[in-house]
Symmetry: C2
Subunit: 341 residues, 2 copies
């Protein structure tokens, strides 16, 4: 098998802010695509390394450089290929995820069936995805909510000093939509109970993601006890080994392929979380349809999906699971079901 990779500069439809990088706007997005060739078949993968998890495009490319000679020639040898990579590069799940994704796409092409079918899943069970509204001025937020008229579920970045004003603006424009929020760890032990209780009730929130920073979970059992709405772990839940430690502090987990290391580990997390009674969400970074379609293959197994990363791109180079009106479609094409545009 031959592994190659390249960066690609893409553009966002709208500038994007989040709590952790407030006041810093992005309009461009450089993505990192991987490609595994084997016997006239191609598998695509995508890495979304983020500095928050101490990864970068450079560190991911360094993994690809070494992994290229470690792949062997059997695309089905997932464990024999991936386990040594996780051992050698334990802190680089985003790069390994790209290889895992490309292998799934490749193997799906070799088998002639989509990954979701190969996994025995029921494509009809895919949930509706939320559409993310980034932090911005109230006027721009209102405008974004108008533009998102087609999407029945909105996910809003909160954890700012301005949460009430933001959510009021959103509820003005969209009084009846399902609304979930992501605080990106913006609250703390002192204010988290009040914040969650107040916002969940006043704005009828479906769930709140990552209210306090990763590892700062002391106040969360009291939040769970008050039960304002489900509380979901994102930055607190990286891989399979984290899941069971979260049951006293969270109602659910947000799984992202780049965070956990790919489809294979995501599946382990799903089974573990389900056994522990945790709700399960599939999330994403700003990614092309490669990364998003990969995550979507597992979507019939989860409760909530937030797989809109590709919809934020003005020039996604791939077509995959689509997303009009929040409806992702697991198609019948082999592998991840991708077509290059």
């Amino acid at each position: 098998m031959k592994l190659t990779w390249h960066r690609k500069n893409l553009h966002l439809k709208h500038p994007f802010n989040i709590a952790s990088v407030q006041r810093q706007q992005t309009t461009e997005k450089q993505v990192l695509l991987a490609r595994i060739e084997h016997k006239d078949h191609i598998g695509w993968g995508e890495a979304s390394p983020v500095s928050y998890y101490h990864q970068s495009k450079e560190s991911a490319e360094a993994v690809f450089q070494q992994a290229a000679s470690m792949l062997g020639n059997d695309p089905f040898a997932f464990d024999a290929i991936l386990d040594p990579l996780f051992e050698k590069f334990p802190d680089q799940p985003a790069a390994i995820s790209a290889i895992d994704i490309a292998l799934h796409d490749l193997a799906g092409h070799l088998l002639g069936i989509p990954v979701w079918k190969w996994f025995g899943l029921d494509a009809k069970r895919i949930p509706i995805t939320s559409f993310t509204i980034g932090i911005d001025t109230l006027d721009v937020i209102r405008q974004k909510v108008h533009e998102a008229a087609d999407y029945p579920i909105l996910k809003v970045k909160v954890g700012t000093d301005n949460d009430d004003a933001i959510l009021t603006a959103i509820r003005d424009v969209a009084p009846d939509k399902t609304l979930r929020v992501d605080a990106n760890g913006g609250w703390n032990d002192q204010n988290v109970l009040e914040r969650c209780t107040h916002l969940a009730k006043k704005y009828r929130l479906e769930f709140i993601e990552q209210p306090t920073p990763a590892g700062h979970h002391d106040a969360l059992p009291a939040v769970l006890h008050a039960n304002p709405c489900p509380i979901v772990a994102d930055e607190s839940c990286l891989g399979p080994d984290d899941v069971l430690g979260l049951v006293t502090a969270f109602d659910g987990i947000n799984i992202k392929l780049s965070k956990c290391g790919g489809i294979r580990r995501a599946l382990r997390m799903i089974h573990t979380a389900r056994a522990a009674g945790l709700k399960i969400m599939l999330g994403c970074m700003v990614e092309t349809s490669v990364g998003i379609s990969a995550a979507a293959q597992l979507a019939p197994l989860v409760d909530w999906i937030d797989l809109d990363g590709h919809m934020l791109l003005a020039d996604d180079p791939f077509e995959g699971i689509g997303g009009n009106h929040g409806k992702l479609t697991l198609n019948d094409k082999p592998g991840l079901g991708l077509s290059e545009k």
Copy 2:
């Protein structure tokens, strides 16, 4: 898809006793085979219903009768087929397991690859299986151990009044073999700590299975604390929902397809147990190579296997994963890798 089934009378190489049916010998074994046909391909499955779990050949056949019209025509629609069966027949996992196994065999044939490969596993990681020595007179036990010279790991049924004599006889003949024991719930809160500590030390046991009856776990945390050897749950661990509740009383779990409902649920149990730090064993009933080869497909994921059920049969109608010298071989044939003899 067309589901059919039939009973088949087979013979045991040796009469067989276990603690729960002491003094009752079996020399015959009637197995229950299921068969799913689809587009010139056949998938084989096997049900091993046992009265201990309130199932019988009759109850399994009643499930087949109704399931036959519920299968639809897509062999890959595992969740869409199996979930309604588990909902409709929650107390009949053995029958559903046979359907799950037959679907995996069938889908493997349609894909043209073995199930272990389809799952991305590394066939080389399969552990050596133990060979079971049933309860019998000391002379017969010594004879059986002699006859099992080829097998490097023995599993011995204990939980009788005669455990020391049995284990002494075995250690006389096989002083250096790896020895694991299965008490089948034969001990109780009062004697379990002494029994485990004494036997594990004196006879150098690899692990002890099911020391007390299912649900009678009160004394087990103290056994875990004394740490004589790993303590493994069998009758205490039926399906995926049981796994996490066992971590304070057991070091590991014994997964059997007929007990949990098939390959798909077994995989969920494996991922959950691994995340919980539990050791994992794959076990079996007295089954043909259909049931045993099905379990063996998952063997690269577990720590211990006890998949000797087919070796106890004098006239196994299938050839599958073999088992000479305790070495099962995951072959490259499609599905479960079976050939009819």
